[in-house]
Symmetry: C2
């Protein structure tokens, strides 16, 4: 046993990943979903510029998103960076599996998974069909489950990795009306991220939740928002006491987004997280120019959640376990055992 442990110790010392301070200079293999536009496209470019190999995953790469694929290629060439696109429709497990398998086959590893794909709808909650709510949960939440089920076996095998979730300040902070199905889905995504984090730490996988506030410009989020399928029901709101309400919400919302709100701040925040040494990455990073209160609420909520894990005796799942630490600790036990054996 002692020989085996010694061997492990040597392997660890030879493994560059066991030196967290080297993270900044490490080239990570990264996949990001929903990278055809918005945060996704910006983040993919920013990470590639920082020297990483980035798979900007996009659906319909040969169809309606072909121009986005060309743009990414041009960006990679112009900037001499390793930005690649890959077909990945988050609505399909087969598509997620194929994309992740290709990335692993090409690189023999996968370091970072970024869940960014999402879609928004706008209108009175009552006017959305249950099917529309289901679709929205699919694209915002089930999407992450499909990619996790495709990618986590590899990250667990490596005993090292990072999962980044692009959540929404709405899941803790201010929630204007007429965005209910979207906010419900994002709250679900945030809750899933929180629990997943604790179920991955012992595998050596770290989690960071990015919490962007509202941006009414700079992404297609509002422009491409879906609308209620039940037009008659929506019309009842407009004919009743909620006349003009959609405009009131949009105008009010736009009025609190500062003119200098910069969507690139989200991309920069993700680059910083990726380049932070393993084990030192923040659980959450807020980037919310409107200051809707999410940062205040999450500070409290993440704290009481940590407290609960301590109360139920599961403190260890709060921090990602490092294979190096795990084995060094085993070696230390063996050393102590040896010492104590000598004493008796």
């Amino acid at each position: 046993m002692a020989v085996l442990r010694e061997l492990f110790r040597i392997l660890i010392l030879l493994n560059p990943k066991s030196k967290p301070e080297m993270n900044k200079h490490m080239k990570n293999i990264i996949v990001i979903t929903g990278a055809s536009s918005g945060f996704g496209a910006l983040t993919a470019r920013a990470l590639a510029k920082a020297g990483h190999t980035v798979y900007a995953s996009i659906r319909e790469t040969k169809g309606r998103n072909a121009p986005q694929v060309e743009e990414a290629k041009k960006f990679a060439k112009d900037n001499n960076v390793d930005l690649r696109t890959i077909e990945l429709d988050v609505a399909s497990q087969a598509s997620a599996d194929a994309a992740i398998q290709k990335i692993i086959a090409d690189n023999k590893r996968l370091d970072v998974v970024i869940h960014n794909a999402g879609h928004m709808v706008f209108g009175p909650a009552e006017a959305f069909t249950p099917e529309q709510l289901a679709e929205l949960y699919d694209v915002n939440v089930l999407s992450t489950q499909r990619v996790n089920r495709a990618a986590l076996p590899q990250l667990r095998k490596q005993r090292r990795g990072l999962v980044v979730w692009v959540s929404s300040s709405s899941s803790a902070g201010g929630t204007p009306p007429y965005l209910a199905p979207y906010f419900a889905a994002k709250a679900g995504m945030d809750a899933l991220a929180v629990v997943y984090a604790r179920e991955l730490t012992r595998w050596g996988i770290e989690t960071t939740i990015i919490v962007p506030g509202a941006f009414t410009g700079g992404t297609n989020h509002f422009a491409h928002a879906g609308s209620p399928a039940d037009k008659a029901r929506a019309a009842e709101y407009e004919a009743g006491p909620y006349k003009g309400f959609a405009d009131d919400v949009l105008k009010g919302f736009a009025s609190i987004v500062p003119p200098d709100a910069n969507v690139e701040g989200v991309a920069d925040a993700i680059v910083k997280v990726v380049e932070t040494p393993f084990g030192k990455r923040p659980f959450r990073v807020h980037y919310d120019p409107t200051q809707d209160g999410a940062e205040v609420v999450n500070a409290v909520s993440d704290r009481v959640r940590a407290e609960l894990l301590r109360r139920i005796g599961l403190t260890d799942v709060l921090t990602p376990r490092s294979l190096a630490v795990e084995l060094q600790s085993a070696a230390w036990s063996s050393h102590v055992e040896g010492e104590s054996n000598r004493r008796t």
Copy 2:
């Protein structure tokens, strides 16, 4: 116009609903979902005992839940209360529509809708299929949307009503691992409730969110919890660093539920909310014997959410508009108008 307003004022004075202090003695027509067991069955009985007409909605009333229907009948007879059962499968819009239509046909009104139906699963997040996450969102969240779409047109027509959501402390407080798909769904439900509340106030519909903590006994919630469909994936967790984790979570969780945690507290809280005068009902009521922190977090989050509505100029949607107040205010404007006309 002035004549019309005066007429309205007289109608309001004749309408017993315009006297909020009478609420306590009013017999409400109430429907509650998922009332075959747990919180639902207890709440239905407690409300019936308090003198209300309660429709305990249950699926498969002629199938596997026939014994629960018989029990409810017996309870109604033994206690001489108006507890009725009604077939309602929250997974079906047609079923929700039929049930709500029958209630309205029989009573010419519907005062209170209580969203209680729910289901839980337990196991590593990664081992649940996306289809299982979708099912869980369906029973916990889409269920409420179906019932809302069936019931809200009537409540809006009445310009009066109460919607009660049985949420979960997990959506703000401590979240033990191995419950991710359930917590994601309940967080979605809570977010939906928060936004719906603001889209219903102007119709004169009030919202209360009940936030129960964890009860490991007294309901079938844990006993009937579903398990991951991907057994092989679950086995990887058990064979790896999460060996014995399911037991650790359950034991740890059970250890913090006080022995006197009483599920009937939730039913009592709902009775109290129903009997509170219109416009005075609390937005949230916590009943959490384990004190997992949800009460602390929601206090902050509901506050920053109210602040956001004020910032975007929509303060009025924070409180339910009373038809009486609305018309009295119209009468008052007319009076002021008259005064100011006299002055010029």
